[in-house]
């Protein structure tokens, strides 16, 4: 192929893209849709349930304060510390629950794998930025809140290329 012919073919292949739909996700207006309600784990079968590894959710009525999540995190990120809570539960005599520092967390989800009581899961919430470092430390009561998020866009593939809706 001649040099000019090659350059014209390259240009032509670029020009064709004028008719292709925009692929970029327009992030703050659009948000990607994820499968499920976040990463979960079933200790009986030893297999997880697919989902995004985002912020954790802690179920106070199930947490026994066994510290297994904190032990699992020890060699990984050391993000989980056990703190005293004011609530009184029959199954949690020591009244301690995990507190997670998202400045350190690497979102590997191995703490969820370690929990034998279905008390710690992960959610689809990934927007955790804050203006101070201390606001990144989530107390047990903050972790108990179910995130309210709307995520609706996914990749669509049509005749004019792939697009984010």
């Amino acid at each position: 192929m001649s040099t000019a012919g090659g350059i014209i073919r390259a240009l032509n292949s670029g020009v064709k893209h004028l008719a292709v739909k925009r692929f970029t996700l327009r992030y703050p207006e659009q948000k990607l849709k994820f499968v499920g309600d976040g990463f979960q784990f079933d200790p009986q079968t030893g297999v997880g349930i697919a989902g995004l590894k985002g912020r954790h959710i802690l179920f106070h009525d199930k947490c026994t304060g066994c510290q297994l999540c904190s032990v699992a995190c020890e060699g990984i990120a050391e993000a989980i510390g056990m703190v005293k809570v004011k609530e009184t539960w029959k199954h949690n005599k020591k009244a301690i629950m995990p507190q997670i520092d998202y400045g350190k967390c690497v979102f590997c989800g191995l703490c969820v794998d370690a929990c034998p009581f279905y008390a710690l899961y992960m959610t689809n919430d990934y927007e955790l930025s804050s203006f101070t470092k201390s606001a990144l430390i989530y107390t047990p009561s903050q972790l108990a809140v179910k995130p309210n998020i709307s995520q609706d866009v996914e990749i669509k593939i049509g005749k004019r290329g792939a697009t984010h809706g």
Binding site: M1, A10, G14, A50, A72, I76, F107, L110, A162
Partner: protein, 377 residues
């Protein structure tokens, strides 16, 4: 001015003709490493690569953590190829602990590893494009990489650093409708990949810059111990997936892509051709995968390896990647040695750049598929 120097200190003699250039570690064209290049006019007289700026002691860190806690930090060296860097670790630990992996998990691991290989190659291709001044080739692969990141996110729950493979299988089963979604996106990607041919690989401007530069002969490639796409671009048919098939690669239908030229063009083209093979493997694996079944063998808490040592390797995006693990009856490994493709390819840089023009340095250096963070570990 005092010309008397203290005893024992000498000034470096500066040649009138030869100039020393430091490319990196702050230079954007070198990654986290330094190339000490001596130039005579426009021609490179010698080149001395100086890695080690991002050494993080992954091997030492692995000695203080148990076999499960090692997973998140071992994938840090190559965060966008994290399935492939964990793969040999999982295979080695399975051999140490004597764990059987369920059939479905083996197929899922192959799919995850091939998706991740495409993600890595696209990222590398984007960098290669931008350093040759082809900014469209930066935008297209980075955009198309999103298709694979989307699939891996549905699979493992994270866009990069998936922490998905574990000794004994994978952490969770595939989500519902994953097969259809994967087939649809991989089919579309193959169509897109053919468009790269016209705009990049058959582009005369790229060919003039890369053809005939940095030639590595077949014998040199073997003698220097190179691996991966560098070795295959020099005409050596070696792929760990074919020669020492692990998991289910021996049941799957694919070919090794080999080119004979050994120049920068061939080295940049081999990973591109491999992406077609990866798509073929993914489609084949989705067809042959058992539709249901367990995906993870349950481990004892804090499993202990016996007095044993084991070496396993896989084919990563940058060549063969091996783990040598020694255990001594404790929950932590005694020694973990990671042998990575990047570091093995680093040795060809002085040979390839000698006598080249300085302007060809990025074209040759980036064609090696070199990832500094992985090489330093």
């Amino acid at each position: 001015m005092a010309t008397q120097l203290p005893p024992g200190i000498e000034l470096e003699k500066v040649d009138d003709r030869i100039m020393t250039l430091n490319v990196g570690p702050q230079h954007p064209g070198s990654g986290h490493m330094r190339l000490i290049i001596k130039v005579d006019g426009d021609y490179i007289v010698s080149c001395d690569p100086d890695p080690g700026y991002v050494h993080r002691g992954e091997e030492k860190m692995a000695e203080y953590r148990n076999y499960i806690q090692n997973i998140p930090h071992l994938e840090r060296p190559v965060i966008h190829d994290s399935c492939n860097i964990l793969y040999p670790y999982c295979l080695a630990v399975e051999d140490l602990l004597g764990i059987e992996v369920p059939e479905r998990a083996k197929y899922i691991r192959v799919i995850g590893s091939e998706l991740n290989r495409c993600t890595y190659i696209l990222y590398w291709l984007a960098i290669y494009g931008i350093f040759l001044g082809h900014s469209t080739m930066f935008m297209w692969p980075v955009g198309d990489r999103e298709l694979f990141i989307d699939l891996l996110e549905a699979m493992s729950g994270a866009r990069v650093t998936h922490a998905y493979f574990v000794p004994g299988g994978v952490r969770n089963d595939l989500p519902a409708n994953f097969e259809e979604r994967c087939l649809r996106q991989v089919d579309y990607f193959e169509k897109r990949l053919k468009e790269y041919e016209d705009i990049f690989y058959q582009n005369p401007v790229l060919k003039q810059r890369t053809e005939g530069t940095g030639i590595l002969s077949r014998m040199d490639a073997i003698r220097l111990g190179t691996t991966g796409s560098v070795l295959r671009a020099s005409g050596v048919d070696f792929d760990v997936r074919k020669k020492e098939p692990y998991d289910v690669y021996d049941n799957l239908d694919f070919e090794t892509q080999v080119l004979r030229e050994g120049d920068s063009y061939a080295r940049s083209r081999v990973p591109y051709l491999e992406m077609f093979e990866s798509c073929r493997i993914i489609k084949d694996a989705l067809k042959k995968m058992p539709k249901s079944g367990s995906v993870r063998t349950k481990l004892k808490p804090n499993p202990k390896g016996g007095n044993d040592e084991v070496y396993r390797r896989v084919e990563s995006g940058r060549g063969s990647l091996g783990y040598h693990i020694i255990s001594n009856n404790r929950p932590e490994p005694y020694r973990v040695k990671i042998s990575v493709g990047s570091f093995r390819n680093l040795i060809c840089i002085p040979y390839l750049l000698k006598g080249e023009k300085l302007g060809n340095m990025p074209a040759v250096y980036w064609s090696l598929n070199y990832w500094p963070v992985e090489a330093d570990r």
